[in-house]
Symmetry: C2
Subunit: 444 residues, 2 copies
């Protein structure tokens, strides 16, 4: 496909280009555009119909957008921006450099400019910033026939037409009706009679975008209405945006759980300095905290000076404790993220982790002690290591399970209480227990 | 809402109950049902219209489903199952005990039973197992008016009507047309003329469900056609199922990256034995691997017997190495999962991680050495710790970045090469480097 398009561009076979490109999905055309040289892009772009061009434009990489904007004339640019869905146009303003944005806004129609500015007011993590203002609004006294006529008239420019919203004279949301219901009704039916008017599910502009994604998952919607504090309908969020939020939120959790300050940009387009900055903060904090474990070892120096063989088990105890604890914290963090667990489940989690850790710790400790005894024949050493490992796993899994819940209770992000912090805490605990048990069992 | 429904049930006010419940979303009604006592559930369930009842049923918790099925009569049960979307009915068969399934299948119509059996043939991670066979299929020689008539006739039972599929006489997929296009066309237009017939995006029944989710994200579809090896249309996947896949795949990655065998069930409904089983395998493997680090410490015993102060830095080196390495592996694993990184980027990743680790390692090492020197006044000790930390971070971040790519190249799951394994490998490397540097700088 790419080769064929390039040939058509080079041969200046514009009519064939228009026909061929017209049959290709906008997402795929955007991939082609990203891969073309800047001059080729302009030729292809000009060959597209206006609404396909706008669609393709919204899928381009930020760099490609910037380069393309530089090569388009003012009227061409204005045409594209007016054709874009408003939420995409607002994203554009956020991702492009100021001088490019200026040129875009100067060439947009007054209406588009007002719409963009309105969307830009909302906080970037809010439902308001996700929504588009291009939806189908019906009135309760329309008939199904009126509704279809209205949809035919304005539907082309709306992000979805499949869920229509019913508002009163003051733009207050009073009902929802799907195109499915419209199609299955009689032409003469009144919208007010066939709409769902009670228990309407909607979000407010200031609601967190995570809440939006959760509602989409729970109710299997393809669009969700957004209202202001007086229940005026101001926009809709569509399911494709909700899916994107879901993926971004997961990525954020992955970053946080690996002790990084989360970031949105793809890995390859994030600069080295930026990447270093995102990673160093937590590494520094954790490094300083880990000196505590060093202090503990130093404090009990006399014990392993007397029995040097005790030292060999330290990495195993630290690693197993860290791994066991991070299993528990991961389960609880993820459970809260997908809405399966809440603060009220704290005791259930504690009890469950306690029982699981007895089983897991018991099995690991038994295996380890038996193995150590088989190799060394040293019963008190094997017993010391086994007992410490048992205590470590129990400590690690209960602490790992509880810390994210504690963070939630204190209004911190539970995802911060993941492997790195849990490991640091468990290390200190497990080393202390190890030396205390050694002192008791081996009498050193 | 819950209280009001309970009052209506207890007062046997069935007519009011029917009206009140009819206005509530099926998902919310399912939550109410889950919370009710079994007898109350039956009363509420019988008060619902048949298709709302089927909808509610598909959202119930597995335990509630089982209890409810036990209380329903055979004809009632048959009615519900026939009313369910086939993919939900097939899921039912997979999640309920065999004797319940038997009763369900016995009471379903022949057509439903055939449909369920067909869906059950597909592997649980395949597009086939996600799809439903209830879609709208049009013919190319229909007019728009014919299409609307057909949709009105059969649309009620189809999972989505908004994307319609055009097939030829042998059921081969030849085009796609959305209801939006239908609404914006003339009644007399031929479907064959207005459908998109080239570059159709579809999946095969055996394609992995991850691929399905990716296509939904890339193309912002609300449904995707599924074809067999001869391009016959056999079903569709809808966007709500794709969203679920996306979430399940992320959960699976979280589990794997925390050294667990992944599982689907919510945390609270997974048994203690099952949870222990999912966790113990990797802990065991990692525990045994960690003895290597113990061997290394034992091997270099003479060094820290001579300079006991060296021991205090071991936990800090191990923890920082593990954390730094898991940052890199997390970025690469997630980058591959969301399609931003591929095997071809290996050199870019290596080069980037190298530069980032020089910055991060340099800063941490400088800070640590300066701090140690300020506290101890021991220059050679501070230099040893600083140099080892520098080497550890560089080693950790390049290994952490490369291991997931290596796993991918060897057709393993990159998510396995996460914090736990990276930590174990980096520990061994960093301890070895530490003792070698100590020997060189401190001449012990």
């Amino acid at each position: 496909m790419f080769e064929h398009i390039r040939e058509l561009i080079e041969g200046k076979r514009i009519k064939e280009l228009r026909e061929f490109a017209g049959e290709i999905n906008a997402t795929d055309l955007a991939d082609v555009m990203d891969a073309l040289a800047p001059e080729g892009r302009v030729v292809l772009f000009r060959a597209l119909s206006k609404d396909l061009a706008a669609d393709v434009f919204s899928y381009l990489e930020p760099d490609t957008k910037e380069e393309l904007v530089a090569l388009l004339s003012d009227p061409e640019l204005g045409g594209i921006v007016d054709e874009l869905f408003l939420d995409d146009a607002a994203d554009l303003v956020e991702e492009l450099p100021a001088n490019v944005v200026k040129r875009i806004l100067r060439n947009a129609s007054d209406e588009t400019r007002r719409g963009i500015n309105q969307l830009l007011q909302y906080h970037e993590d809010s439902a308001g910033s996700l929504m588009t203002t291009e939806y189908i609004d019906l009135k309760a006294d329309m008939t199904v026939e009126d509704a279809f006529r209205y949809i035919r008239e304005v539907g082309m420019d709306k992000e979805t037409i499949y869920t229509c919203y019913v508002v009163d004279a003051r733009q207050v949301l009073i009902g929802v009706v799907t195109v499915r219901t419209l199609l299955l009704s009689q032409y003469a039916d009144r919208i007010g009679d066939i709409m769902s008017g009670t228990n309407l599910i909607c979000v407010s502009t200031s609601d967190d975008r995570e809440k939006v994604a959760e509602l989409f998952q729970k109710y299997d919607f393809i669009a969700l209405p957004v209202v202001d504090s007086e229940r005026h309908l101001v926009g809709i969020v569509t399911v494709d945006d909700a899916m994107e939020v879901l993926e971004e939120e997961s990525t954020e959790d992955f970053h946080k759980m690996a002790a990084m300050v989360p970031f949105d940009e793809p890995y390859l387009s994030t600069g080295v300095l930026e990447l270093a900055r995102k990673r160093i903060l937590w590494l520094m904090v954790l490094m300083v905290s880990a000196t505590l474990s060093g202090e503990i070892i130093t404090h009990y120096q006399a014990i392993f000076a007397a029995v040097p063989a005790l030292i060999a088990a330290i990495p195993m105890l630290m690693d197993t404790g860290g791994n066991a604890g991070s299993q528990s914290s991961t389960l609880v963090i993820r459970g809260m993220a997908v809405g399966e667990l809440s603060l009220g489940d704290a005791f259930k989690v504690l009890f469950k982790e306690l029982r699981v850790s007895l089983l897991v710790g018991g099995a690991l400790a038994f295996f380890n002690a038996a193995y150590k005894y088989a190799l060394s024949g040293n019963a008190s050493l094997s017993l010391t290591v086994g007992a410490s490992l048992f205590a470590t796993v129990i400590f690690a899994q209960t602490v790992g399970g509880m810390l994210p819940l504690l963070a939630k209770a204190l209004k911190f992000d539970p995802a911060l209480m993941a492997a790195p912090i849990v490991t640091t805490i468990v290390d200190a605990g497990s080393l202390t227990v190890y030396f205390l048990i050694a002192r008791t069992i081996m009498r050193v």
